[in-house]
């Protein structure tokens, strides 16, 4: 697969505040790429640079090998689904979708055919004459997608397109978007702060924070092999502990030295150790080195979410086995489930659940206050 879009060493500041710092990124043809990160991480600015609404202060943007830094948006073979849709309120559904076709001065029969086709793809047949402002959020969303796709763009840019929809609709649209992308065979660049949206849809996830790309990889890579504490915390739940890598495949954390499968660190190098909540098994105390006291138990349907206090550090564990609060339990962790990361500037910021409060967790991580940890 060829590199369709490429950003080389791109930087951008607004009013002296750096929003993007030396971004290098390429997007392949027909790929579903998600730019993921908290608000202010630079993901939307990256998208707007690709769309042509912002010009990089530094660095270059290439499309199909050609530099397009100064190409205005109306000349780029790229269309955008805007946050909150930006539908034209003075035009009905049909005319909104036909907007770019009218500009191309296509004959009416052809326009009508294409608009109908596109409305069928987004499940809005029969809505042609409707006033866009009278549509529900989900329907407006579909009109915006149809409007952006009808002109056969090479790339579709989507800026938090599902943000305004309720959870159920969001899930349905995720599946539909992925289907549309595969059916039309075009490149999607998708911006979101919701990791639950990013993982199921994407071929590639680009995790960003503070104007810097933290990690690029498949959803599996990002989840299983996070590059640093930020990625580990942002994608899913993680227990992140200070550790020391004594030698290859031998790491000390939480007062014990355990076998792991990571290597390539220097002797006794301080590291971050990530253990996913679902990778810890609760076993009777004494059968394994690690043990702690059960703090709280929450029933989540598929599993229990148990907070276990191990010498003051609170672990989150997701398990189907119940353990009563106050009991002492053993924590069994298999070597391949211990993930060791190099120390980064994000170390010690994340990964302790001592201030964890279940009610705040709505799937998006944006509202979580990091400074409390």
């Amino acid at each position: 697969m060829s590199r369709l879009i490429e950003l080389k060493n791109v930087s951008k500041s607004f009013d002296d505040a750096a929003v993007l710092r030396h971004i290098d990124l390429y997007i392949r043809d027909k790929e579903f790429v998600t730019l993921l990160g908290p608000s202010g991480c630079g993901k939307t600015t990256t998208l707007r640079i690709i769309g042509g609404f912002e010009t990089p202060d530094e660095g270059d943007v290439f499309f199909d090998g050609k530099k397009i830094n100064d190409l205005p948006p109306y000349k780029r073979p790229v269309n955008t689904v805007f946050q909150k849709y930006a539908l034209f309120p003075h035009l009905n559904v049909y005319e909104n979708v036909a907007f770019s076709l009218r500009l191309a001065k296509l004959p009416e029969i052809e326009i009508s055919k294409k608009v109908k086709e596109m409305l069928k793809i987004v499940n809005l047949e029969g809505f042609e004459k409707r006033d866009v402002e009278r549509l529900s959020g989900g329907q407006q969303q579909r009109v915006a997608i149809a409007r952006a796709l009808v002109g056969n763009p090479k790339v579709l840019l989507l800026d938090e397109p599902l943000g305004a929809l309720d959870l159920k609709l969001r899930k349905d649209m995720q599946v539909e978007l992925k289907k549309i992308q595969q059916r039309l065979g075009i490149t999607f660049v998708y911006v979101t702060h919701d990791q639950e949206e990013a993982l199921p849809m994407s071929d590639t996830v680009v995790v960003m924070d503070n104007g810097v790309i933290q990690q690029i990889g498949t959803p599996e890579d990002i989840y299983n092999e996070p590059a640093n504490a930020f990625v580990a915390d942002f994608i899913g739940e993680s227990n992140i502990l200070d550790g020391i890598m004594h030698e290859d495949e031998l790491v000390e954390f939480a007062g014990h030295t355990l076998h792991c499968v990571d290597s390539g660190f220097s002797k006794d190098e301080p590291v971050d150790v990530v253990i996913r909540p679902e990778d810890v098994d609760i076993v009777p105390a004494g059968t394994v080195p690690l043990s702690g006291t059960v703090d709280t138990v929450t029933f989540k349907g598929v599993h229990y979410e148990i907070i276990v206090d191990v010498d003051g550090f609170k672990w989150m564990i997701q398990t189907t086995d119940y353990a009563a609060p106050g009991t002492v339990v053993g924590l069994r962790i298999m070597p391949e489930e211990i993930h060791v990361m190099k120390k980064s500037k994000y170390s010690d910021l994340y990964g302790d659940y001592s201030t964890y409060f279940d009610g705040l967790d709505d799937g998006s991580k944006e509202e979580k206050t990091k400074d409390e940890k």
């Binding site: 769309g51 042509g52 609404f53 205005p72 948006p73 109306y74 790229v78 269309n79 955008t80 805007f82 946050q83 909150k84 930006a86 539908l87 034209f88 309120p89 003075h90 907007f99 770019s100 500009l103 191309a104 409007r147 952006a148 002109g151």
Partner: protein, 277 residues
């Protein structure tokens, strides 16, 4: 059935407005109607209305309409780019530009018109300047142009403000969407900005046209005795001819004409925001 307490409070709150409306809107209207359809002895007649059909009055009506249309058109041509420029400036500059636009309105209307007189008179400011420079003076006052200039000068802010209001609320993402879909900035203006500012344009046209078509002061001061507008004719019926009945009939006809033109204008606005005068 809604609870009566709330509706009673609502009625009480509306009471001053209702009293006001009856005293100062409904009652005068009834007087106009009464005078328009009666003769000097108070008997019913259609003479006042039918008199307006004669050629001299028709000419006056047509002239008033023509002047108002030209003045409104000039206001629109001047105001739209101005309003657009203001709406695209930074918020701080927007405030300053708006204030500059409104500034003349803080001055009394009569004084403003007198000042224009003083500037464009045959021996006024401009001509004094021209002669002192050895140039020939230009006759400006008491022409069609001077009256229309007076209308444009006095009513321009009424065109700028509603257009600015609509343009400043225009979502910039719509402009981006338009460009994203292939429109050059020019086509974005034609296909998005212009249609979305229509309600402001319609309001502006109404707010300039109505006072222009019924003005008498501007035409008296800047038009001299060369020609009459409908406003002058009405004024004369009350002030010098003491023919209240004919004056009322003229006012009534003018009002009906304005209402008809407003109804036509409203059809061109979105229907959501009707024109408020």
């Amino acid at each position: 059935m809604k609870n009566k307490g709330a509706s009673l409070t609502a009625r009480l709150a509306a009471a001053p407005h209702i009293v006001w409306s009856v005293l100062f809107i409904a009652a005068p209207m009834l007087f106009v109607l009464y005078y328009a359809f009666t003769d000097k002895e108070g008997g019913f007649t259609l003479d006042n209305i039918s008199q307006l059909g004669n050629a001299s009055y028709l000419t006056i009506f047509m002239r008033s309409a023509a002047f108002a249309i030209v003045a409104t058109a000039i206001c629109l041509i001047v105001a739209y780019p101005l309003a657009y420029a203001i709406s695209r400036a930074t918020p701080k500059k927007q405030k300053i530009y708006l204030m500059l636009t409104m500034l003349p309105m803080w001055m009394n209307f009569l004084i403003r018109t007198y000042s224009i007189m003083a500037i464009i008179e045959d021996t006024g400011f401009i001509n004094t300047l021209l002669t002192s420079m050895g140039l020939d003076p230009i006759h400006m006052i008491n022409t069609d142009g001077s009256v229309i200039f007076g209308m444009v000068y006095n009513y321009l802010p009424y065109m700028v403000i509603p257009i600015y209001t609509v343009l400043s609320k225009l979502d910039t993402r719509l402009l981006e969407a338009s460009q994203d879909l292939g429109c050059t900035p020019f086509w974005t203006f034609v296909r998005v900005v212009l249609p979305l500012s229509r309600s402001g344009v319609v309001s502006g046209i109404t707010m300039v046209f109505v006072p222009s078509v019924s003005t008498f002061y501007i035409s008296q001061k800047l038009g001299g005795s060369n020609f009459d507008l409908i406003g002058d004719t009405i004024e004369r019926q009350f002030q010098t001819a003491y023919n209240y009945n004919l004056g009322a009939a003229m006012s009534l006809v003018l009002m009906v004409l304005i209402l008809i033109s407003m109804a036509v204008m409203n059809r061109y606005s979105d229907g959501e925001e009707s024109v408020v005068v």
